[in-house]
């Protein structure tokens, strides 16, 4: 028995020493690589900067230096716009960085694919087809990087795949939405077309994004306000709440009478954002008699539209609880 304990102790001790040595060796190797990377970066910076004046040499052949060079081009590209960014992208294309990144997007290692997808957008290389494919990647970080880069490239061809990825939660909401906002007005037409997609989650995402992108899409949103799916109608009313035109006010006012409570709630919030008092009585009626969600939203909208009036109204005995709550929140905010 003693022998077994002694043997186990020795084995345990040896294993610990080996693990400790491996950790130390690993850290040592990483620190050497970091130092080499840092030195290479300092040496290569002037080369990359010279590209801005169409000078400078070709990219290094050694793997580490090549990686550092690509990283520098991407970092500088991220900070640039206009002619300088175009020039950097042109040089990157001529010197084979575009080809190299296209290859890296097919790498077996996900971090290589993610880094490549990120760099494509920073440099401004038009690898749209490859980025759209990367939205289907098994790794979320690769998909997010690809989405971000499609936005940075202003890739209209990326609008539909981005909306589909957003609707199916395949990319982070903030990343996908920002990408579509970055694409800007050019995204409006494809988004309007997606309002008639057979998948209701895609219709809902498209409607909501139109509110962030294009004020001229009110007509399309008006048609979508009659969508069979209440989720889509909620997205439409939220988008209209951001648009702010006279037509959108009329549609939002009409949606205060929607049969579904959470659509009425979204409409009340939108009325508050638009600042219209056309149906103020209806809001008061909702705050007093409607179901919990629309009543609460209507009271909050009243507090926005009539901040002094609501304080007077709640002083009366028997004031509706949602109005009292909205008045209290208005006072503290």
């Amino acid at each position: 028995m003693k022998d077994i304990i002694f043997f186990a102790t020795v084995v345990f001790g040896v294993v610990n020493v080996v693990i400790a040595l491996l950790v130390v060796a690993g850290r040592f190797i990483f620190s050497i690589v970091d130092r080499r990377r840092e030195k290479a970066e300092q040496r290569l910076k002037p080369e990359v900067l010279a590209w801005l004046d169409e000078e400078g040499g070709s990219i290094p052949r050694r793997r580490l230096e090549k990686e550092v060079f690509e990283g520098l081009v991407a970092r500088y590209g991220r900070a640039l716009r206009g002619l300088d960014r175009d020039r950097l992208a042109e040089m990157a294309r001529e010197q084979g960085i575009e080809k190299s990144l296209a290859q890296q997007l097919r790498s077996r290692k996900w971090w290589r694919r993610a880094a490549a997808a990120y760099r494509v957008g920073d440099i401004g290389l038009p690898l749209v087809r490859q980025l759209v494919s990367a939205l289907e990647d098994e790794n979320r970080q690769v998909r997010d990087s690809a989405a971000r880069s499609l936005g940075r490239l202003g890739a209209v061809a990326g609008v539909q795949p981005l909306v589909v990825s957003l609707a199916h939660n395949r990319i982070a909401r903030a990343v996908g939405a920002q990408a579509l906002i970055d694409i800007g007005l050019a995204a409006a037409d494809p988004l309007e077309r997606l309002l008639w997609h057979h998948d209701e989650s895609i219709r809902a995402v498209a409607a909501e994004l139109l509110g962030h992108i294009e004020q001229g899409s009110v007509n399309a949103l008006e048609m979508a306000s009659n969508d069979m799916n209440p989720e889509v109608r909620v997205s439409v009313v939220r988008a209209l709440g951001r648009c702010g035109s006279r037509t959108s006010v009329e549609i939002v006012n009409r949606m205060l009478d929607d049969p579904v409570p959470f659509v009425r709630a979204a409409a009340a919030t939108a009325v508050g954002s638009l600042g219209t008092k056309d149906r103020f009585k209806r809001l008061v009626d909702m705050a007093v008699r409607d179901e919990y969600l629309p009543a609460k939203a209507a009271a909050a909208a009243i507090a926005v539209l009539e901040p002094e009036g609501i304080q007077r109204a709640v002083r009366a005995p028997g004031a509706p609880p949602h109005l009292v709550e909205a008045a209290d929140l208005a006072r503290v905010s």
Binding site: L49, L52, Y76, A79, L80, G82, L83, D84
Partner: protein
């Protein structure tokens, strides 16, 4: 000779660039040096003020959001100091809202450029600011 360069002047323009992002510093310094300017760099607002007190600057380029003292803090301190009050300041910032631009000018900035930026445009603006002041 390129119209924007400063090579025909007897003394090169002295420009201070303060930004905590080393890549931005690299890009600005590269473009300004190519335009014939003498460039000083700082990584934060306090360092920028210290350099300005030691060297005479023709133009100062400040990032808005920097550690220790922000670009706006630096401008306010410059405008309160009679030795630095007249130096033209260009704010280079990622803050692009209309309200930010207004706040920048209200604080005393002379020009405003948003990131991502064009170093060529920046260089032209620096020359214009310097010419306007002189």
């Amino acid at each position: 000779m390129d119209r924007q360069t400063n090579l025909d002047l007897k003394e090169p323009l002295t420009v201070l660039v303060a930004d905590d992002d080393p890549d931005i510093l690299d890009l600005v310094v590269f473009r300004l040096e190519r335009s014939g300017c003498k460039v000083f760099t700082a990584r934060n607002g306090a360092e920028a003020l210290e350099i300005m007190r030691q060297h005479r600057m023709n133009v100062v380029i400040l990032d808005w959001m920097m550690p220790v003292a922000s670009g706006i803090d630096v401008i306010e301190r410059m405008r309160a100091d009679e030795n630095l009050a007249e130096i033209p300041v260009l704010l280079l910032t990622a803050r692009a809202q209309e309200s930010d631009v207004v706040s920048g000018f209200e604080a005393g900035a002379d020009d405003f450029l948003t990131k991502p930026f064009s170093p060529r445009e920046l260089s032209h603006r620096v020359m214009a600011l310097s010419n306007r002041r002189s």
